[in-house]
């Protein structure tokens, strides 16, 4: 198990390194950061000067090396605009976004798991049809549209919920629901199809032939197997939710890292954007790693393979 985790960690670090390099290169090669920063009215000399003072005229690899050296020490540089440490800005906002993403994932799992399972047990029941319908519609709803609709209905027409900011727990209700609805279709479909597949396995027939209750067959025999891919997907979804916070936070004006990133992208605040890319990538990598470890712990076959 230790060797398994170790080799996974090494690969993950390698992936993280590659992603940081690719992200860095993309941001630098896609456009002229200095020109973006200097604004539309700047003269050529002004731009050149800005480029020089910010070290943007150095070779790309050299820039990357110094960025990486700083980042490894936890220093992600200063924001071009706020003249504040990127790390400080992040730490001030990460809690808000984390609450959003984690609550959304919990809500999504709480809805998807039982409904997906029931649909699998009773295929073609009204419940199964509802599950399929919800999954299909949820997949087709753009998050920002849903957010606007909720604002206009619950916020304006009914006046039940506050429509922007993050001052009270009530402020989180709509954003969490919007994010959760984005995550539900995939989770629900996987639960349903995974459960159906497991229910067709020989060992389920064996369990039934033993005369134990169907609840026990479901819970002990089927769920233990069906849960494995769901754990992996949940990790992926949490990573996606962090990235998806950009839209939801900007619609609901929640001051989390998503909104920070969106603003920074608009004004070319490269250090913040690069840090956000790294943050979301690192979260994704750590989460999937965690899911792998949990799965190895739940599935003796994986455990043995890893020995």
């Amino acid at each position: 198990m230790a060797a398994y985790v170790r080799s996974k960690v090494i690969v993950s670090l390698l992936v993280l390194f590659t992603v940081s390099l690719v992200g860095f290169a993309l941001l630098h090669l896609s456009g002229d950061l200095a020109a973006t920063l200097a604004g539309e009215n700047a003269s050529a000399e002004q731009i050149a000067e800005l480029r020089h003072t910010m070290g943007l005229d150095r070779p790309l690899l050299a820039q990357y090396a110094s960025w990486l050296a700083d980042a490894a020490r936890g220093d992600f540089g200063l924001s071009f605009f706020a003249r504040e440490s990127v790390l400080t800005m992040f730490l001030a906002r990460i809690g808000t976004t984390a609450i959003l993403a984690v609550s959304a994932l919990i809500l999504a799992i709480a809805v998807s798991l039982p409904l997906g399972m029931l649909a699998a047990v009773r295929p073609n029941s009204w419940l199964d049809w509802m599950v399929s319908g919800v999954a299909l519609s949820g997949q087709a709803l753009p998050g920002f549209f849903l957010a606007l609709m909720m604002i206009s209905f619950f916020g304006v027409t009914l006046r039940w919920l506050p429509i922007s900011g993050s001052a009270t727990p009530l402020h989180y209700v709509m954003p969490v629901v919007v994010l959760a609805i984005g995550a539900i279709p995939a989770l629900m479909r996987l639960t349903r199809s995974g459960m159906m597949e497991v229910l067709e396995q020989d060992y389920i027939r064996t369990a039934r032939s033993k005369g134990i209750s169907s609840l026990r067959v479901m819970w002990k025999h089927a769920m233990r197997n069906a849960i494995l891919p769901i754990i992996s997907l949940s990790a992926v979804q949490l990573g996606t939710l962090l990235g998806g916070s950009v839209i939801v936070e900007s619609v609901f004006a929640i001051d989390g890292i998503g909104l920070l990133t969106y603003r920074s992208i608009q004004r070319g605040d490269f250090p913040v954007v690069q840090a956000m890319l790294m943050f979301v990538s690192a979260s994704y990598i750590i989460l999937t790693l965690l899911a792998d470890v949990i799965n190895a712990w739940l599935d003796p076959r994986l455990r043995q393979k890893s020995q």
Partner: protein, 280 residues
Amino acid sequence: MTRLLDIQNVSLAFRQRTGLFSPPNLIPAVRSASLHVDAGEVVAVVGESGSGKSTLAKMVLRLLTPDTGTIAIDGKPAQSLGPREFARLVQPVFQDPYSSINPKRTLAEIIQTPLKIAGGVSARECEERARDLFERVGLPMRLFHSYPNQISGGQRQRVAIARALILRPKLLVCDEPTSALDVSVQAQILELFNELKQDFGLTYLFISHNLAVVERIADRIAVMYRGEIVEQGATDAFFAAPTHPYSKMLLSSVLPPIPGRPLPTVSRVFELNTPRGSQP
């Protein structure tokens, strides 16, 4: 008689990757196996699952490369043959009738595949030859342009055999070609193998776990156990008096359809790595 296939001291171990940086585990699959097949002969390799018999067949087919030892076909080292040259000497028939032919291609296309790959034959002639073989292996012509899901397991094996024959190879490597089939169909396919041997002057390397089948079709038999060929000899002699304890056990495990006999006693107690059987 010419020696069509000559396997000398061939060994192969599978590497099991344990981690990214740790050295792989070596799992020996075939250990220093030597076997030859003369032109016109049927040599059967028998053994249970995990005995290495399929691995041996895959090496002969060049789907796996031996770690050590040599395989010569028609007097030339197998590795020195070009892919087309090799294909005209050796062709395979595999076990699973469902996986052995491409479900998305018509039977006509499947049979022509080796000829298309070899090239140098007009499309017309390709089809002509495929038609001839289609009939020869006992398939009704109306199925020529059908897809595999329209035919039975036995018919699929006939298609696989026709495909193997279209390049007119000298050696057919048959890896459990009937073990996925029902007995009534198995009998049909075995009869077909017998007829084709005469008509096409074929030589077979026949891999099987079924001693009754092997007794019926083989001239010589090699028994594999845990990667080693523990005994080989002429079929008659083998069935009359097997020498290796494993061979004896294998033979005693065969259940004839004769009622009233008790189940045989199988004793697994015998020494491993006992001396090889007599080399003919």
